[in-house]
Amino acid sequence: MSPRENGPHENRPREDGLPQDPQDVKLMIHALVDGELDAAAALAVERRMAADPELAAEHARLVALRGAVASVPRPTVSDAFLARIAAIAAVKDPEDVEAAQGEHVKAEAQPSARQQQQGNVVAMRPRAARWFDSFDWRQMAASIVLTAFLASGATQWLATADNGAESFAVAVANSHRRSLLAATPVDIVSSDRHTVKPWLDGRIGVSPAAPDMAKDGYALLGGRVEVIGDRPMPALVYRHHEHLITLVAAPRQNEAKSVPVADDLSAGGFLLVHWTDDAFSYWAISDAERPALDDFVARFRAAIIANPAAGSPG
């Protein structure tokens, strides 16, 4: 990761840790402009620049060049091209193809044809035109419908699909994705429910049962606090082989719909299972396969029933 290692040059580091070779110092200025230096290295480079007008001038030129390059116009993604690309995924989706067979789609297909004539670069090209000819109108229509959805944002499409539960599922999916990208998926690392539960209790006053099911192949990694719809709620993180499973336990509210039987959902490319018990509304989410997630849910529910003491809320 360190940008300082630069090829064969063997430079004795000076006191500020920067290379001595003038060319290598220039590389450090590039790295500074590119935001690749940590704070200590950035400070050292800035000190060198303050002492050396030539380095400062190089820095000024680089900043100017960055601005000049940023001003170069970029190719725009035309609607027709986006439709072509969106269709790659759409034609594989039977529900969208079915949807495209609806009558209202025919009506939509015509404005889009007009759109293509309005100076649309892609449609004007002979090659692209051939491509459109070979395209079944249903797929074309499906892609237009999909594009309309995409224009309003894929997540919104999922969120507005149905009801509150759907948007909650999307929020859970987004949190799960964020946790996968974060340095660590948990705020409290422990495989011991006697550590995880009090931690969650201390933070937000509620904690679900946190059985460690390592012997079943689902190791408890720890817990974190999720904020979904401005309510903080506990989340447990389990590992199953290479997959992480996040289990969000939303404290039941009076109006919440009871879902005693697990409900299979998906959101944002992840699979979810949703169910409720007396105290919590549970959402299990993972990129694991459906059978593994179902197995996890079954074992988790069995573990709670077997050991209700571990599952008392609060």
Binding site: A68, V69, F81, I85
Partner: protein, 190 residues
């Protein structure tokens, strides 16, 4: 549990479509930019990106997190070179044979004064575009990935399969050429 046996496959296809929509579609602009700079024109770039997106869709299940833009651009880069090898065999640079380019020593910059920075900043975008287009392939590619697509040194090094130090020296060389051209070209008052 509640899922029907065939419900699983439908869900997983929907899942893949959703992932495609999240991973690929937001980065089409960057994909087009890169393909455009590598192939040299917008029309071919769309064909290349379409080809790349087909590959991306086929391989979307293998996307294991990380930077989706870097993932897509890697596929776009490969598709660009495949496309050029097929359609413009004479213009393709052997990608694996760049040692000579990396050894080129940087140009001397004796006239390192700040007016040059002002000239660079004022350069019109057509001149900048032309200067980038004139860069040797390996330098252009690195510069575009960094300054136009916004990838990090590490991501570029991984994509090109070269050490990070090589990315840095190519970048410095590319920028050095651009700064010399844009800073020196406008000496005569326009």
């Amino acid at each position: 549990m509640a899922g029907a046996p065939d419900g699983g496959t439908v869900l997983s296809e929907k899942m893949l479509a959703a992932r495609f929509a999240e991973v690929v579609l937001p980065h089409l602009g960057d994909a087009l930019s890169l393909a455009c700079w590598l192939t040299g024109n917008t029309a071919d770039a769309e064909d290349v990106v379409q080809e790349a997106c087909l590959k991306a869709h086929a391989g979307i299940a293998g996307f294991a997190g990380g930077n989706p833009r870097a993932w897509l651009l890697t596929i776009v880069r490969n598709a660009s070179y495949t496309w050029m090898a097929k359609n413009r065999p004479r213009s393709v640079v052997a990608v694996g044979d760049l040692a000579d380019l990396d050894d080129v020593s940087p140009p001397p910059d004796n006239d390192a004064d700040s007016p040059e920075a002002a000239l660079i900043a004022k350069a019109n975008s057509a001149a900048v575009e032309a200067a980038i287009a004139r860069l040797p392939q390996a330098f252009r590619e690195t510069l575009v990935l960094r300054d136009i697509n916004g990838l990090s040194y590490r991501e570029i090094a991984a994509m090109l399969g070269v050490p990070q130090g090589t990315v840095m020296s190519r970048l410095a060389r590319a920028r050095g050429v651009l700064m010399t051209e844009l800073g020196g070209r406008h000496h005569e008052p326009a």
